[in-house]
């Protein structure tokens, strides 16, 4: 089924999952305000939020069944969008499940937290759909404002308020870069539509126009902040540490996934012709991010900070997929995002149990002897850490995620050999901190004076079991997910460009690996 996006009714139809989510979120907002804040009422809102997410997921699956397609317009209707939507919805579901159980432990009983997660997810889905820089901006703002509030939600704790303010200021700063980039790109090409930008760059031979290149550079900086890539990563460890643990998981997984999806779409749809110019910067950012994230993580004593640096390192791995500039790269990207989302949520679920929702026990020493006191928690954490490391079999799909990523990097028009070597070497370095935590859990005795690790509640246990089982099962049988990610991939589309009457030279000019050039 093809939507004609010029007709208002069909545009709304193409946005059905987003409309379902936003409408549900608004109704739940009223529901949350209807009674006094209490733990019981907060749970009612959480159930409602999960139902709304399920409805949105059903709408996404229905659109996939319809094989929905659309004329060129402000939003994209393709399988890449549906895949990203599903990733964000899964992340939001995990976040709400964790929050409804962990928040009351930190004396947070506002049902609005769940509504804010829904609104942030709506923003992410708009980002995934954006085929116009203005729509992208709308999505980013919708997502960011909700997440600022979520980060600062634990307002009685100083760290949370500090993290909220920091995230807000840095977020506003990066959005300014992004907007300035959008303005410059509009100035150079006269349009904000991604497909049109790509076409006009060819038509008017703008690939070396300084205004366009400045615009692309500013956009790159803006996205660098959003996905916490080095050297724009400074904010993320502080914010991840200060935010309530379920929110940290949501930021590390879903927020990052949405920002990366928009990043990938813009780079593939609008700037394939500028590849010679942005390839070098992205190459260096990817290399730097992998090195900095993994090496700084080695010296962390706080598990939340360690996972924050690990998440920075994973941004670097994902940037390799963007640097590969092929549809194979974007399929590896989706597979990686799924594995990363599951492992991140699992790991942070363990962190939230061990720290008792109150953010006290997040030091490495709090994990000593976890194997004796809560063996299943220790086993689960080991699976998640091995998945993040990319260990075969016990790390489940984490291994295949890295495998596909490397495959795509080598198969790209300019084989990213050096970048792949850096990826593998830094992964080896990452074993230093992932396995260190495993060693602490299994081989150290727990200090007798330390407080006991509390039991995990039913919802947290559900999240833990779901993520661990999915990781392990997909590690044994990755074919279905691999097929799904291959079908959902986007690559530079020659048809969209040649249809606008431009004489299309070869679409992807052979990029040069900057390290190989020297």
């Amino acid at each position: 089924m093809t939507f004609d996006l010029m007709i208002p009714g069909q545009l709304i139809g193409a946005l059905l999952p987003d409309v379902v989510l936003m409408g549900g979120a608004m109704l739940l907002m009223l529901l949350a305000a209807w009674r006094r804040e209490s733990d019981a009422w907060q749970r009612v809102v959480a159930v409602g939020a999960l139902a709304v997410l399920a409805a949105a997921a059903a709408a996404v699956l229905w659109m996939m069944r319809l094989d929905a397609d659309a004329s060129i317009g402000v939003i994209a209707v393709d399988r890449f969008r549906w895949a990203t939507d599903l990733l964000c919805i899964v992340g939001a579901g995990f976040a709400i499940a964790l929050m409804s159980e962990q928040n009351p432990r930190a004396r947070l009983v506002a049902g609005e937290a769940h509504v804010l997660v829904l609104l942030a997810t709506a923003g992410m889905m708009i980002m995934a759909a954006a085929r116009d820089l203005m729509i992208l901006f709308l999505g980013i703002e919708l997502m960011s404002i909700a997440v600022y509030v979520l980060v600062a939600m634990d307002r009685r704790r100083e760290r949370s308020a500090e993290a909220g303010l920091k995230y807000f200021l840095l977020g506003a700063f990066s959005t300014a870069f992004l907007l300035y980039g959008v303005a410059l790109i509009y100035g150079a090409t006269g349009t904000t539509n991604l497909t049109e930008i790509g076409a006009r760059i060819i038509l008017y031979k703008l690939a070396d126009h300084p205004m366009l290149l400045f615009g692309v550079a500013f956009l790159l900086i803006g996205f660098g902040f959003k996905v916490a890539a080095a050297p724009f990563h400074m904010w993320s460890p502080d914010v991840y540490e200060g935010a309530p643990t379920p929110v940290t998981a949501f930021m590390a997984a879903a927020v990052k996934a949405a920002a990366f999806a928009a990043f990938l779409r813009i780079w593939i749809e609008a700037f394939p012709m500028v590849v010679l110019r942005w390839f070098g910067p992205i190459w260096w950012i990817a290399a730097l991010t992998m090195v900095v994230g993994n090496i700084v993580a080695l010296s962390q004593k706080n598990v939340k900070r360690m996972l924050a640096y690990s998440s920075i390192a994973h941004s670097g791995y994902l940037l390799v997929a963007i640097a590969s500039t092929t549809s194979m790269g974007s399929s590896a990207f989706l597979f990686y995002l799924l594995a990363y989302t599951l492992a991140t949520f699992g790991a942070f679920a363990v962190v939230s149990v061990v720290s008792d929702g109150a953010e006290r026990g997040t030091q490495l020493s709090d994990y000593e002897g976890l194997w004796q006191s809560r063996p299943w928690l220790a086993v689960g954490m080991t699976v998640f850490l091995l998945a993040l490391l990319g260990f075969p079999v016990f790390g489940g799909m984490g291994f295949f995620a890295k495998w596909y990523l490397l495959q795509a990097a080598i198969a790209s028009p300019a084989p990213l050999v050096t970048l792949s070597v850096i990826l593998v070497l830094t992964s080896v370095v990452s074993a230093g901190y992932y396995l260190h935590l495993v060693r602490v859990m299994f081989m150290k005795e727990r200090d007798g004076a330390a407080a006991a690790v509390p039991a995990s509640g039913p919802l947290t246990r559900l999240v833990l079991i779901t993520t661990a089982v999915l990781i392990l099962v997909m590690g044994v049988a990755p074919e279905r997910v691999a097929t799904w990610s291959r079908l959902s991939a986007i690559g530079p589309a020659p048809s969209a460009i040649s249809s606008l009457g431009a004489d299309t030279p070869e679409l992807m000019p052979p990029a040069v690996d900057p390290a190989a050039r020297r």
Binding site: M26, M29, L30
Partner: protein, 134 residues
Amino acid sequence: MERTYLPVLLLVGFVIANAVLILGLSHFLTRARPSPVKQQPYESGIPPLGDARERFSVKFYMVAMLFIVFDIETVFMLPWGVYFRQLSCTVPLVNNVCAASNISFFGLGEMIVFMLILLVGYVYVWKKGALQWD
């Protein structure tokens, strides 16, 4: 294409020159003779009463914030009102008229949705007791 930005450049230059001129003239042509009365903060000619840095109840901020939110939202009705005729017509207007067969409720429907969203926010604020002074 760069020529079209020339007026902007001229405007920037004019603003800077103007500021330098006005501040420079007042700096060079006036003589500073300060006196205690002159150095007092200006409060519409009335002698100042107490310190300006006073703590206000958070309720004032709440009301101010809600006012700003709803005030800015209603500003969006202005461009909508200007384009209402076009929004209610499925084809481009001819002489600002729309044939009866082409009239659509798109413009009206959009505003109803917008108002409903505002209403949800209003009901939420009311239910949360943010409009209660005591």
